[in-house]
Amino acid sequence: MGLALLLIIWLITFFSSYFFVAHAWWPHAISASAPYIDHQWHLTFVAMGVIFIMAQVTLGLFVWRFRDRGDTAKASYSHGNNKLELTWTVLTAVLFLGLNAIGSPIWAAERFQPADQGAMKVEVTGLQFAWYFRYTGADNKFGSTRPELEDASLGGLSALGVDPNDPTSKDDVVSGILELPVNTEIDLTLRSQDVIHSFFVPAMRFKQDAVPGLMIHMHFRPEQTGDYEIACAELCGLGHYKMHGIMRVVSEQDFQKWLAAREADKQ
């Protein structure tokens, strides 16, 4: 049984580790901050991977090596070893807290700093079960919204309850696709009209809950053109699995063309 157990534990360890590295699981990353997040993942992955393999291999080895061989010899009588205990404690503390210290600046850059001056404002609104994206237009200001004006069946500005009498709302544009210019800092405002949703763009390594009653400010910068999927990552009701959208990153010129066309559509 000892040998069987050793084989089972070792094989599980081998296959588990193998599949982690045999395939590029992470989606292709396109945001400015993604390399830092991915780097921190890799660092943690190597550290945890080494501990995982060492611990499992040792466990397998011990159960086989120290099996009852049916002889009369007794097991070793020992209540432990304080020196080893201390060494182990200090090593893990240094490793775990050190990893944390290394990773903290990445989080700080993501979430402590506001968006750069001059970043493009986009408002992201989640509602059961769609994402709406609003652009300020030329005045760089969002028009005010009023819940009593919301009517999702009309789509566009009405879905968000944008007040047509507010002069700043005149040039607002609402889209079902998140069209963004490449290499531009985006100043996101996340909100929700009904329940909690979570705005998840795997390619951007970006996720943030959209919470009813809160306006949450975030920022990111897409660095490659293309279409990337947006998913909802917070359980929001029966259509949660199909609450998705497209983030389309295009060149600055194409973006301006697109925005102008949307403005023209409104007229």
Binding site: I37, M48, K74, S76, Y77, H79, L97, S104
Partner: protein
């Protein structure tokens, strides 16, 4: 540890009179902690069967959305969410909280410390029947109009606060909250009993530092339960008030749900998350600490060696308990909570990895130069260590907020918590079952069936949960009923299929356990008083133990719990009640 007898007073022999003879007082409204322990165990056994069937239906629906499943029919997306919500709720509360603590703790804490019963037998009975009522209310949610809620076991408002937000968010949601409130009350009553019993009813010589590590784990778990369940109870009552009395603790103003304006204002959905996770994180340790205690007890017993670093094990459990109350915000890095607080929560969370690592090290140290006997309970204890390592090591990824950004609410998290608080804790329950079954029922469970059960379950658990890490890395969100709408998920379907096949096999293998359990109860080989040659007090009394546990004798304790392979002793174990000397250490 010293060799002197401890200061703890002997249990008052008068608290426990003659055993009741009537069926109702003996088996239903029993005051005997052993009967109540078995009642809890059977409640958990029923719950785990329900929970597992729900998970199987979910797994089948995910990969074959149109399949018609016996008893369920073709599952709709909202029904999937209901199954998921009830699976999580039933497993966390009625299995992982109920079996290891209330079940085995009730049965063996008094015996292992040499007490004739729990400190408050009537309260004990009341805790069980309140838990039973709670389970009945929970199950009834399936059968009301609209069905059971779909808002997940975490039950975040506003989805859970507004009936229009989804099917099941009507009466089903109210029943869910009432059930959980009852469960909290029952758990707090149980916790008081465990704490008082441990502090006041230890036998002569049973100092705190001579208690088996199982008793320490039940004791610390009880303290966690007492502090944590009160907060969930408060949260549950507030949410019930928001839903039914027009208060707005969790619902802000200006919402429109399904086209209808919501008449609330001023509340915060994040308040619920704080209250829930202030309970929810300690709850993880409520589920796993008893398993750690059992694993420690078994690894020492079947390695025929004293536990490596007894005191370090006790202090590690205490630090896990204390730190466990300071890490709840790591569930909320993406919630919109202040990003600055993430620093504190992630620091504390990484810190909690240290005592967990100490425990792993000490388990390996216990086996080092041991003489390992591969009994079925030992196999499950070894499996526990392996799973604890695998489930634990994904923690430091999720504890770092920067890495949590892509991984939060994906299958990576599902893999993490299932391995550690699901499967590892269940392995603790299996280990405890195979270990104590002979004491509880006077017969041994079948060894061969037990080994087959272990091998399939161990490999199966890894086949189910290891691939979920890969899914999470690929960005597969959790709580999705289908993977057809979001395009990048389609290529991951073969992995989901593999997981479903593994789940079908692993769940089926549990029938071997159920058969073994009930067959052995009647037909198993008769068990001796101390079949495992173990040292703790439950093995000094008759099998099964008499009504007052020690047949009128009050045990006196001379040693710590793990005196195995003492040099010069004629056997390789010295019972705690054996006055034979052991070397100072």
């Amino acid at each position: 540890m010293t060799q002197s007898q401890g200061p703890a007073g002997a249990a008052p022999a008068t608290v426990h009179g003659h055993a009741p003879t009537g069926f109702i007082r003996k088996y239903i409204f029993s005051l005997d902690h052993k009967v109540i322990g078995i009642q809890y165990y059977f409640l958990a056994l029923s719950a785990v069967c329900v929970g597992m069937i729900l998970s199987l239906a979910m797994r089948i629906h995910m990969v074959w959305p149109d399949a018609s499943i016996p008893f369920f029919g073709a599952i709709k997306p909202e029904q999937y969410l209901t199954l998921m919500t009830m699976h999580g709720t039933i497993m966390v509360f009625f299995v992982l909280t109920t079996a290891p603590q209330s079940g085995f703790g009730n049965y063996f804490l008094p015996i292992q410390i040499g007490a004739p019963d729990m400190a408050f037998p009537t309260l004990n009975m009341l805790s069980f029947w309140t838990t039973f009522l709670s389970f009945a209310v929970m199950i009834s949610a399936f059968f009301v109009a609209g069905g059971a809620p779909l808002s997940g076991w975490t039950n975040y408002p506003t989805l859970s606060a507004i009936p229009l937000a989804g099917p099941g968010e009507g009466l089903g949601e109210d029943l869910w909250l009432i059930s959980i409130a009852l469960f909290c009350v029952a758990s707090m009553m149980g916790a008081l009993n465990f704490i008082t019993t441990t502090l006041d009813l230890r036998a002569k010589g049973m100092t705190l530092m001579r208690m088996p590590l199982t008793c320490w784990s039940w004791f610390i778990t009880a303290i966690l339960g007492l502090l944590a369940f009160g907060v969930l109870l408060a949260g549950g009552i507030l949410l019930l008030m928001d839903r039914n009395l027009g208060t707005s603790f969790f619902v802000p103003g200006g919402l429109v749900v399904s086209g209808v304006p919501v008449q609330h204002s001023g509340g915060s959905p994040l308040l619920w998350q704080h209250l829930f996770w202030f309970f929810g994180h300690p709850e993880v340790y409520i589920a796993i600490l008893p398993g750690m205690g059992v694993a420690s007890q078994l690894l020492s017993t079947f390695s025929r060696k004293p536990i490596f670093g007894y005191k370090a094990m006790v202090y590690a459990m205490m630090s896990i308990g204390i730190l466990g109350f300071m890490v709840w915000g790591h569930h909320m890095f993406m919630s919109g909570m202040s990003p600055y607080s993430a620093f504190a929560f992630s620091f504390m969370t990484m810190a909690i990895g240290v005592p967990s690592a100490i425990k792993t090290f000490n388990w390996l140290g216990t086996m080092w130069k041991g003489k390992i006997r591969f009994t079925v309970p030992m196999l499950f204890a070894i499996g526990f260590v392996s799973l604890f390592v695998s489930g634990g090591l994904s923690g430091p990824f999720l504890a770092q907020p920067a890495i949590d950004i892509p991984l939060h609410d994906t299958y990576f998290v599902v893999a993490h918590f299932h391995l550690i608080m699901g499967v590892a804790a269940i392995f603790g329950i299996f280990a405890a079952t195979y270990y104590w079954f002979p004491k509880m029922y006077g017969r041994m469970m079948n060894d061969t069936l037990g080994k087959i059960h272990f091998v399939i379950t161990f490999i199966g658990a890894y086949c189910i949960f290891m691939p979920m890490h890969y899914l999470g890395m690929a960005g597969n969100p959790r709580r999705y009923s289908q993977f057809t709408e979001v395009k990048y998920l389609a290529p991951l379907l073969p992995i989901h299929k593999f997981i479903t096949y593994a789940a079908i096999i692993t769940v089926s293998a549990q029938l071997i356990f159920l058969f073994n359990f009930f067959w052995s109860m009647k037909k198993g080989k008769k068990a001796a008083q101390n079949p495992w040659e173990a040292t703790t007090l439950e093995w000094t009394t008759a099998t099964p133990p008499p009504h007052d546990n020690f047949g009128g004798v009050t045990p006196v304790v001379y040693h710590g719990p793990y005196e195995y392979s003492v040099p010069g002793a004629d056997k390789d174990y010295i019972m705690q009640t054996d006055p034979a000397p052991v070397p100072a250490h």
